[in-house]
């Protein structure tokens, strides 16, 4: 069975592990993580994904949220199954900087979009506003993008 190629950002992981997110987002996000584990999805992420997710967990713990070690262990489990794209090896700061200005997004957004473009993957995110903005701009060189709520 051929696996689909996806880039996910931190919002997808967060949507899956937060109990208070609506089911229309959390269930497809969890399905994505299950499919990454099983190999149905070949997940690519830039190295920044780790900083984002672990930074988010540290912030949640500091704010007194009941983060379990199982949530942290889940991140490590899935991280081992992802293909990591490293700065100055698989992507470089100059091309990301240029892309951010051209597409009028943040530097962070551009890292994911540039990696998705290189790999030929669909960029999955929980960020509806970003998707709406990019769809309106109609840039021809953008990778495929999708809202995680539509993942099946």
């Amino acid at each position: 069975m051929e696996s689909q190629v996806a880039i996910i950002n931190a919002s997808v992981f967060l949507a899956a592990i937060l109990l208070d997110e609506p089911k229309e987002v959390s269930e497809p996000a969890l399905k994505m993580l299950m499919d990454i584990d099983s190999g149905r999805v070949e997940a690519h992420v830039p190295d920044r994904f780790e900083d984002e997710v672990l930074g988010g967990l540290v912030e949640a713990i500091t704010k007194g949220r009941p983060v379990t070690l199982t949530a942290l262990a889940t991140f490590f489990h899935l991280w081992d199954k992802m293909i990591i794209h490293r700065r100055e090896v698989d992507w470089n700061s100059q091309e990301v900087f240029n892309a951010a200005l051209r597409w009028r997004v943040s530097y962070y957004d551009a890292i994911y979009l540039v990696v998705a473009q290189k790999v030929g993957a669909t960029y999955w995110t929980a960020d509806k506003k970003l998707l709406r903005f990019l769809q309106r701009q109609k840039f021809v060189d953008l990778p495929q993008m999708a809202w995680i709520g539509s993942y099946k």
């Binding site: 919002s11 937060l18 109990l19 584990d37 949220r65 949530a71 262990a73 970003l130």
Partner: protein
């Protein structure tokens, strides 16, 4: 004081190892069909997920600010 901190870190380290084993076991059981998707989701809700009180929307707002959009950071 330092000894107590070392002890706490050692405990966290051991607990994290146990948690990693549990996570690997549950994903493996799901893949092998030993548990249903519903059982896996039930375990996920109890053992993995937590109440984040708008952690995701706060993250998305920070992203908007980084794009120069007119979003306000939560206080």
């Amino acid at each position: 004081m330092a000894k107590r901190k070392d002890l706490e870190l050692a405990t966290i380290h051991d607990e994290l190892l146990r948690a990693k084993e549990e996570v690997a076991k549950m994903f493996e059981a799901l893949r092998a069909g030993q548990i249903s998707e519903e059982e896996f989701k039930r375990w996920w809700r109890i053992k993995v997920a937590f109440k984040g009180r708008e952690a995701l929307s706060e993250l998305l707002k920070r992203r908007e600010i980084a794009r120069g959009w007119k979003a306000k950071l939560p206080s």
